[in-house]
């Protein structure tokens, strides 16, 4: 129930961004992407990193999805569902704001 509510919070007009104090960083020493937060490190996959690089607080979800659809030549509808779920998960962990 809670999870569904949180997913619903991310919609096509949401403008997701990393809050101050959360950094997206490539961790070369361990061959992975990370989100760095106070006293915490979240490992994320390369796809999530590609999405988060577009989360600048300017682009809305619709724009982000359109860019990803073009880059990966995939249908926007399928992408939007996955991206919204992923962003909702990060928002619940308080490392993403909308």
């Amino acid at each position: 129930m809670t999870e569904m509510d949180e997913t619903a919070e991310i919609h096509s007009q949401s403008r997701p961004r990393l809050p101050r104090g959360v950094r997206l960083r490539r961790d070369e020493a361990r061959g992975r992407w990370t989100l760095l937060a106070p006293e915490r490190i979240f490992e994320i996959d390369a796809t999530a990193a590609a999405v988060l690089e577009l989360c600048d607080g300017e682009r809305d979800l619709k724009t982000i999805v359109a860019e990803l659809a073009q880059r990966y030549t995939a249908p926007p509808d399928a992408i939007e569902k996955d991206v919204a779920a992923m962003l909702a998960d990060l928002k619940a962990k308080r490392v993403l704001e909308t």
Binding site: P19, R20, G21, R23, R25, D27, E28, A29, R30, T34, L36, P38, E39, I41, R94
Partner: protein
């Protein structure tokens, strides 16, 4: 596998730098060593910058700019900028004293990611008495406001002991009021200064358990608003804390004069040779310095650690506590219920918690000198 050529260790995650041991406060549980390093012995800025670059190249992700009071360094903004530009997540661990709005904004502009502000008490009287600094309450509150105004995330750190244990709910309210996203309720760890003051600081077990329950209830109530991290007093725990995440596994500390340490209290263990970052690269220190390899992994362990199913969870607990309380750093940390010394230290702690002793020895250069 040849026992003489162990595989290279996994890279460190964090670098904790004690930029200086100078500090306006005199907390009686200070984590700095009893023998404080003099300002004249501190590394210069260029050396610190090289250390930050080496740490990032080695794989460190977080740098904790600590002290003493790290902003007592006149080059703190420059150091912060260098660390941040080098890709490190920068965390300032501060008393908040002497950090005005201008300096806070300069630090934010230099790329500071996060500030951790200590409070010694949750009201003016307690805070100023335990920090041994009159007027620090107002200065800390002002700093918290500067941090929030600059848009930086704020953590409040409260070290807990017998004299302020009753204030745990007030610390939680204070953190919410100041706009902190995170609160550390950190029970005192009894090494160095805190060990000297243990009789006056050790809290009664029952009150500790009550405070833990309070924090757990607050976590539920404040979910989504405030994260509360808790360090429980290990004398009353069943298992010990993995010292610094395991000796030589996660973190490197560097003292003001450049000594690389597996943990901030490591110098309390006799016979260890600490290399200096002036003479060695951080990569060489991490891999080869005998002080880092001494208790890395599990080969050094005796019983009950050697055959314990938790040996790679607890890593034997804290070596410095084993040294301080049993006289031998290779013994199990007596915080562990499997240690033959456990019952004795718990009995001592419980007796001290009821002793009524309230004489505190505040941290200072002077005290150390008077003793020498």
């Amino acid at each position: 596998m040849n026992a003489h050529t162990p595989p290279p260790p996994a890279p460190p995650v964090g670098l904790l730098v004690e930029l200086t041991h100078r500090c306006p406060l005199g907390c009686p549980y200070c984590s700095n060593p009893l023998a404080l390093e003099r300002p004249g012995a501190e590394l210069d800025g260029e050396t610190w910058k090289r250390v930050f670059s080496e740490a990032a190249a080695l794989g460190a992700l977080h740098v904790h700019l600590s002290g003493g009071e790290p902003t007592a360094r006149r080059d703190i903004v420059d150091l912060t900028r260098h660390a941040s530009q080098g890709g490190l997540y920068t965390n300032l661990i501060t008393s908040g004293i002497g950090v005005g709005e201008k300096l806070t904004n300069e630090l934010a502009d230099a790329g500071l990611d996060h500030a951790q502000l200590s409070f010694q008490g949750a009201d003016k009287e307690t805070n100023d008495r335990l920090g041994h600094y009159k007027g620090s309450w107002e200065k800390k509150r002002a700093f918290a406001a500067h941090v929030i105004k600059a848009g930086l995330p704020l953590t409040i750190n409260a070290v807990i002991h017998r004299a302020n244990l009753h204030q745990v709910p007030a610390f939680i309210d204070l953190a919410v009021e100041l706009g902190a996203r995170r609160l550390e309720v950190a029970h005192t760890q009894y090494y160095g200064w805190a060990l000297q003051n243990r009789a006056a600081l050790m809290p009664p077990r029952k009150e500790v358990e009550e405070s833990i329950a309070l924090v757990e209830a607050a976590r539920v109530r404040l979910k989504g608003e405030l994260v509360i991290d808790m360090v429980i007093p290990d004398y009353y725990a069943r298992y010990p804390k993995p010292c610094a995440g395991g000796w030589g596994r996660v973190a490197i500390d560097v003292s003001p004069s450049g000594k690389a340490l597996p943990c901030h209290a490591a110098e309390s263990i006799p016979g260890l040779e600490f290399w200096n970052v002036r003479d060695h690269s951080l990569a060489d220190i991490w891999r080869l310095n005998p002080a880092f390899t001494a208790f890395r992994g599990t080969d050094w362990m005796r019983e009950p650690c050697r055959s314990c199913e938790r040996r790679e969870i607890d890593w034997g607990g804290c070596r410095c506590q084993a040294m301080a309380l049993t006289g031998d750093a290779r013994n199990a940390d007596p915080a562990c219920h499997k240690s033959p010394d456990h019952e004795r230290i718990v009995a001592t702690a419980m007796a001290e918690s009821e002793s009524g002793d309230s004489a505190l020895r505040f941290r200072s250069y002077k005290t150390e000198k008077a003793e020498a």
